[in-house]
Structures are given as structure tokens and as C-alpha cells.
Amino acid sequence: MSDSASPGKQLVEMSWDPITRIVGSLGIYTKIDFEERRVVECHSTSSIFRGYSIFMKGKDPRDAHFITSRICGICGDNHATCANYAQNMAFGVKPPAMAEWIVNLGEAAEYMFDHNIFQDNLVGVDFCEKMVRETNPGVLELAEHTEAPGQRVHGFRTIADIMRSLNPFEGSFYKEALHMSRVAREMFCLMEGRHVHPSTLYPGGVGTVPSQQLFTDYLLRLLKYVEFMKKVVPLHDDLFDFFYQALPGYENVGRRRILLGCWGAFQDPSVCDFRYENMSHFGRKMFVTPGIVVDGKLVTTDLVEINLGMRILLGSSFYDDWAGGEQFVTRDPLGNPVDPRHPWNQTTTPRPQKRDFKDKYTWVMAPRWFDQRTGEHLALDSGGGALARCWVTALAGVVDFGYVKATGHSLKIYLPKTVNLPETELEWRIPEWSNALERNRARTYFQAYAAAAALYFIDRAFEELHAGRTTTWHDFKVPDEGVGCGFHEAVRGILSHHMVIRGGKIANYHPYPPTPWNASPRDSFGTPGPYEDAVQGMPLFEENGRDKFKGVDIMRTVRSFDPCLPCGVHMYLGGGKELLLQHAPRFGASR
């Protein structure tokens, strides 16, 4: 972190570049009013450009999932899966049911692994004893004297004991979580071959060979994870509830308007045929419901409507506009008009230039969702993935597969008996706010959701196996001309892939992962992206003055979105004032 101030002003410009404990390169630049203890302004910018949509042009459409997996090193398989969905649509192929159960099992393991390692080895450090001691000693003191309500299940007597267990590399829970993230990755590798760029996924199905051994190996690891979740959910509930109690007003940290998107996860092979014409129907049958929540109201659960509302704005990003350029798709397969700013019609033209926070400052574009009811271009966020998935699915009230039930206002998650703990029913309730602590809390509950869903999928996989339906792949022909789209949930949220095929080759391909949504800069209308929006105006609770300021509340906010910036982000807070260096950087090895 570096900070600088303008003499005689109350506002201090502070930056964190790069920000640590996230995937990818993100810098945060802020302007802070230390008297009011409030962040005044914030921009978000990315420092890496690779150009997938450019170098994919002219390549074989069957290679799309192999290539796009490499977009992300922590959820590459989400990209591969999403690409497979788009390929299946474009190629007109429906994989065998067994293949879908195998993919669902792999993706469920990915949600467990990724949420787990991010929550407990990266985010958790912001809540660990060492960090709280350095930023809020008063809070640590209170934590020492606060009994943890869930101690009988998770084994930690006080909240401070939980915090100590999160100390990096040394805390017991930090180490246990890292170990469990490996168990979940073993489950993943059983289904998709390799983590994180899978080897066994294909358009038309999978190459994984189903067997009694394969599914038993998965099941027994899953049950260990189920037992782990029974402890982790009360542990995190205790920790996050404590922060509301210890720091009144903490609900405003990272709080923004409720604008959540979820594109749905886990196909049901009994209804999903990957035909665009049937997408509204099979989307609603997914085991995590797609949808958009605006101000607490469910606006839609229709994937076709979601698709047609997508708009890619450039705003403050380093690209030339494609307005007036080639329109690849004027009507969708149902005959609906497709906007020129839709991903099917996007042309990416990078223009590297100096970073200027008053003009262009990032490699991230600004995806928005056009709300036809109001004419607004909504800067949706994913709530770090889990919050939007839980919120949309709970509100929609459609999901009910035994292990999970959506009630309209909550999710009930059933976990069966395991070695040391009895059967357990957890309930996630729709929170009052879309804020940092609730994004984090949902991340824990969604791991339990994914484990419960995996229990259901493994039942189905055994059913197929025992009935002798072990085919995992159907052949297809790549059409000369065609379009496809896939909608999925990357671990950290909404993910779409849009493909146009001409002459049997990729003519246009645009993936939209969650980070462009969450990390987007000010768009063409001046609307800030979700990180910027959530940080701007937020109160600060850190006890340190500006000399020792670590920015822990800001970092908790940004990390609550689960930034994954192989797409890249920087944030900037400042108004172009003359800067003076306030204090020298700290050097040397801390560990």
C-alpha cells in the first residue's frame, strides 16, 4: 500500500497495487476522508490483456473449450463447461445423461474446492487473529471474551480461537481447509481428469469412463466434505455474526444496491437438449436457478430474456468501439432482434494507451444488463457468485430435489449422517443486505449446497451405471454456419460464452466471466462498476490512523466479490491532486 496526501486537505489518496490474496492482478486506488472515516471515491482498473476473442478467430469450433479453459486458472473448468454448452447448441448435440451427471459432479467439486480455498486461505486472513490484532485490537479483545455459539460442533471456544485458527500457514483451520481443498480437487479429477484445465470434457459428452470404482471413490471423499461442512457453516456464522455485534454499522461495509445476476448451474439431462428454442425451459430446470434480482425482487428466470438483455459497453476501457461495424447475428434462433452491443456482435479492438483515471484506465470492459422495464443499463454483480446463486434460487422457489429445497425466502440444505456428526439440516435465509459479510457467508453455505447437490447427482450416476446406460458421448457434425451460447455459473458468478461459426470456423467468440461484470469501470453512461460502487462511500472501522492504515475494510469489501483477475483490475481513488509521499514502504521479509 502506498499513500499520499494533499497538504491542507482532509482527503488522502491511497492505493493498493497489486492487491494480494486474489487470483490475478488488481490494483486499488482510493481517496479517503479520515476525519469522517469514509471512502470518498474509487475506480477499478485491470493491468493484463491477453486477447482470447482475437486469437480464437478462425480456429476450429471444437477447440473452443480447450482454449477458453485457459482464461482462468482457478475456475478454468467452468469455462470449459460453459464452452461445451455453447458448442452443444451450435453443433446440435445432446450428450447422454451419464455425461451430464459426470459434469455436474465435477462442477460441484469445483464449487466446493474453490469457495473453500478462497474463503479460508485468502479471505480468512482478513479475519485472522494477526490481522484483527493489527487493525482492530479492541475487536480482538472482545473476541477473546465472546463464546462461540457453535463451539460444540466446530470445537472453538471463543471467537478469538476461531481467529487464531485462521492465521496463515500456522492456524489449525487454515491448514485443515487447505487439506480439504485438496480432497475436493481429487473429487474433481475423478470426474474431469485434471484440475484446473480439464482433460476429459468434450462437446457431445465426456471421456470419463463410468464405473463402480469411479463413483465410489468420489462418494467417500464427498462424505468427508459433508462432515467438514457441518463444522464450517456454524464456524463462519459465528465469525461473521460477531462482526455485526462487535462493530455496529458493519452491515454498510461493501454494501451496494441489490443488483444480482445468476446464470444457473447444473443441467438436468431429462429436459436439457441445448436447443436455444428450449433454453427458457431447461434453464428453469437447472439445479441452481438462473435469474436477476433487482432491489430484492426477482425480475426474470428466463435465460432467453437474460441473453437478449446483455450489453457490452466500453466506457473507460482501452478499446476502440465497434459501433457501425459488422453485425454477426441480427436475430436469435427464435427470431428476436439481437442488439449490436450484444456479445454475439462484439468486435474486440485493443488500443493500448497510458492509464488516465479521468478517461481510460482499464483493460476490463463494462458489461451491463438492459432492463426493458426501466431502460436502465444495470451494473449487475454476482455477489461473489454464491450470494446471487443462493438469492435467486431461494426467491424463485423452484429447486426441490430432496437434499435441497428452495422455500421462496430461504434454502434448506440436508446433509446425511457422517462418521462423527449426525444428520444435519442447514438453512440459508435471504439477508437484509448485499454486503461484504453476506457475500462471505453465502460462500460457505453454497459449499454445503454443492455437496448436497453432489449427493443427488451421485445417486443418479449410480442409477445410470446400474441400468447399464454407460455411454458418455454422442457424435456430432460441426455446421458450416451456426450460433451457440452457453450459460453457467463460474465459482465467482455469472458466466456466458457466445460463439458464431462461419465456414466451419470460429467467426466470433466472446466469453463473459463474472469479473468483467464485477470489476468493470465506469461505463459509457458514467455508472461505476460494482467494486467501485461498493467501495465508494463505505465507512471505515479500522482503528489505525492513516500512518498505519492497512485498509482492511476496503480489502474485505473487494475480496468479498471473489475477484479473479486474469481478466485484470485496478481500483483508483483520487481526483488528480498533487501528491506527496506520506510514508516509506515497509521492506523486508515478513515470513
Binding site: M1, W16, I48, D60, S199, V209, P210
Partner: protein, 358 residues
């Protein structure tokens, strides 16, 4: 009096007491190699960081994804100190392809941190400043080693591998060439095992790391995928899968295993689980310098396989037929295993006999 355990004499002091590991993830990367190494158990990251392996110097890890610091100068302090020569000795790990920043007049393709001019500091600049002082330079993943996916034809950034950028002949100040650890991503234990080797070497407990002409540790990358694949027996018998999901050899479905140098089918992906052709995924050559272009389209049969699988055809089918006869025989028990009063094993008892036997 301090009591020294008797066995301590088996653990000589490392030649250097501590080593700093600086890690740059900000090439054109996906951070997949970083994520991969958190899966490693042979050794695990925490075993290295906590000093749980005898004979190693203390390891200080400066890694953006695993750091305690919140970022910015608190985190970059170590990198800046290393450039000034105040953080000796250090190893540098680079992840991601190296973009060509010279093909344009302004802006950046890859950067982190802010320079005194308020502009981002390019990753190339950091490498230029840090490489000369490093004890060793490790390129983790195929992107950093050879360019990888982001260096595909048609790419806008001019991406390349670290060795393309620094020159094939580059050596560290103590004479170690760039250590390439390809794989997309790297196989977790392959990397951690190699890091452990280098730490032992710097501690004075191992000779110069053996590398092949492409900078790869020889003990990991000399054999081909096919030589370690448990489906190789199907190939020998010319028994080829015609659709994905079959347990047979998938060379006709796009597998490049016979010519790709990688140990993944033998080692598995993690804890011996997973892999590529051994579990039904065609080998797309992701460890090779020619990746990805020379292997695309990935789902076509490799041209070489068309010839070699035809050549093995007659031999394989004949052997398979002969073996099926042998197997039929071996699936029958010897005929003396039967109930009844008569012993037919060949033993002639002298002390017992059932009078009912003929």
C-alpha cells in the same frame, strides 16, 4: 545447558541459512500454476514454508496470492528490496507468457505496481530488474516456459516464453540456466519436487539440476505420455477407441501421447488420481514448446498416429487373437479340482484311501 538431540548430527547446516522466493504471477497468465501448487503434497507448500523438511534453508515466500500483506508497497517492498540488492539470496519464479511491449508506442499488456510516473510498471520491467540478481529463475507453466496458449497464432500481444525473452543462453549469476516447468497448468508435485531439488542444490546438498535442451528437469520429462500410459497395452494390440468414454487407446480420437514428453499418466494429476489419456482425455501436448498450434485441431487424429496405428494393426490384431486363446485357457481351473472319492492331483497317498474310489 542446551540439550542437542543425538540425531541432529545427521542434519548439516544448509550452505545458506535462508532463501527468499519471489513469485511473479503477472505474465499473461491465468494463475493456474499458482493454484496447482496449492494442490501439491510431495511436498506441500506448507511443508516448505513451515520448515518441515530437514536440511533446507528457511524459505520466505513472497507470493501475491498467498501473502499476508494487503498489497501495494507493503507487498512490493520485498521486490523493490531485491532489486536494490537488499534481499539476498533469492529465487525468482515467473508465471505467464511474456508479452512484447515493444510492438506499440504506449500503454501496457501486463503490469503490476505503480511507477513514480503514476503509470503501471510492466511485468517486463520487473523481470529486467530482478533476473540479474536471482540465484535461479524458474518458468512455471507452459506460458512462461515457451509462450503457451497466449502465444497462439493470431495473438495481438506478441507473447513468448521467458527464454525467448531473455535469450536461450541466459544463466543465473551462479550459472543455473532457466528451469522450465511446462504443463498447462504444471503438474503440482512436479513443480514442488523441482523447487525442493533447487533448494537442496542451493543448500549444498545436491549437484547441478539436470536439465534437457529445452530446460526441463530430465527425470520428469524424458519419457513420453505413451510410455507411462496404462492404455498403452490397448495400442500394442491395435485396439483403438472409436468414441470418447471408451477405456481403450484414444490415439485415433486426437491423443498425441506417443510423442509428447510428460509424466502425467504415470503420476496422475494429484494423489495419483486423474490425468489425461489414462482417464479418457486426449493428450493435447500442453507441456510442449509447440503447444498449442502444432496440436490443433485437438480432436483430430494426429497425422503420425494414422501411420503408426496402421503399422501396428496386423501385429496387434494377431497378438490380440492369440492372447484371447491363451486367456480362455487361463480362465479355466485345472481339472483335478473336483469333489468325489478319487484324488486326481498326482499325489499317491500311502496312508489313507477311500474304498469307494475305483
Amino acid at each position: 545447558m542446551t540439550l542437542i538431540p543425538h540425531g541432529r548430527s545427521t542434519q548439516p547446516e544448509p550452505a545458506i541459512p535462508a532463501i527468499n522466493v519471489l513469485w511473479i504471477t503477472q505474465g499473461l497468465s491465468c494463475d493456474g500454476d499458482t493454484v496447482a501448487i496449492t494442490a501439491a503434497t510431495q511436498p506441500s507448500l506448507e511443508e516448505i514454508v513451515l520448515g518441515a523438511i530437514p536440511g533446507l534453508p528457511k524459505v520466505n515466500l513472497f507470493h501475491p496470492v498467498l501473502a499476508y500483506e494487503q498489497g501495494g508497497e507493503d507487498f512490493l517492498g520485498a521486490f523493490r528490496a531485491a532489486i536494490r540488492g537488499d534481499l539476498e539470496p533469492y529465487l525468482l519464479v515467473v508465471e505467464g507468457s511474456i508479452p512484447n511491449e515493444k510492438i506499440k508506442t504506449e500503454g501496457y499488456w501486463a503490469a503490476f505496481g505503480q511507477g513514480s510516473d503514476g503509470q503501471p510498471i510492466t511485468t517486463c520491467q520487473w523481470i529486467d530488474d530482478l533476473a540479474p540478481g536471482a540465484q535461479a529463475l524458474i518458468a512455471i507453466g507452459t506460458c512462461a516456459a515457451y509462450g503457451g496458449i497466449h502465444a497462439m497464432s493470431g495473438n495481438p500481444t506478441g507473447a513468448m516464453g521467458l527464454r525467448d525473452y531473455l535469450g536461450r543462453e541466459w544463466q543465473s549469476k551462479i550459472g543455473i540456466p532457466i528451469v522450465n516447468m511446462p504443463g498447462c497448468p504444471v503438474q503440482p508435485d512436479n513443480f514442488m519436487e523441482t523447487l525442493l531439488y533447487l533448494l537442496y542444490q542451493l543448500a549444498g546438498r545436491a549437484p547441478m539440476i539436470p536439465l534437457d535442451a529445452e530446460g526441463r528437469p530430465t527425470w520428469l520429462f524424458s519419457a513420453t505420455v505413451h510410455e507411462g500410459c496404462d492404455r498403452g497395452g490397448y495400442y500394442e494390440q491395435a485396439d483403438f477407441a472409436e468414441s470418447y468414454g471408451s477405456p481403450k487407446c484414444i490415439v485415433k480420437l486426437g491423443c498425441w501421447g506417443p510423442v509428447v514428453q510428460c509424466n502425467v499418466p504415470k503420476r496422475g494429476w494429484m494423489a495419483g488420481i486423474g490425468g489425461c489419456p489414462n482417464v479418457g482425455g486426449v493428450c493435447i501436448g500442453c507441456t510442449m514448446p509447440g503447444f498449442p498450434d502444432k496440436f490443433m485441431p485437438f480432436m483430430n487424429e494426429p497425422p503420425g498416429a494414422i501411420m503408426s496405428s496402421a503399422a501396428v494393426g496386423m501385429y496387434g490384431r494377431t497378438v490380440r487373437a492369440l492372447r484371447s486363446f491363451t486367456r480362455m485357457s487361463l480362465n479355466r481351473e485345472p481339472d483335478w479340482r473336483a469333489p468325489g472319492p478319487e484324488l486326481r492331483t498326482g499325489y499317491e497317498p500311502t496312508s489313507y484311501r477311500n474304498e469307494d474310489a475305483k
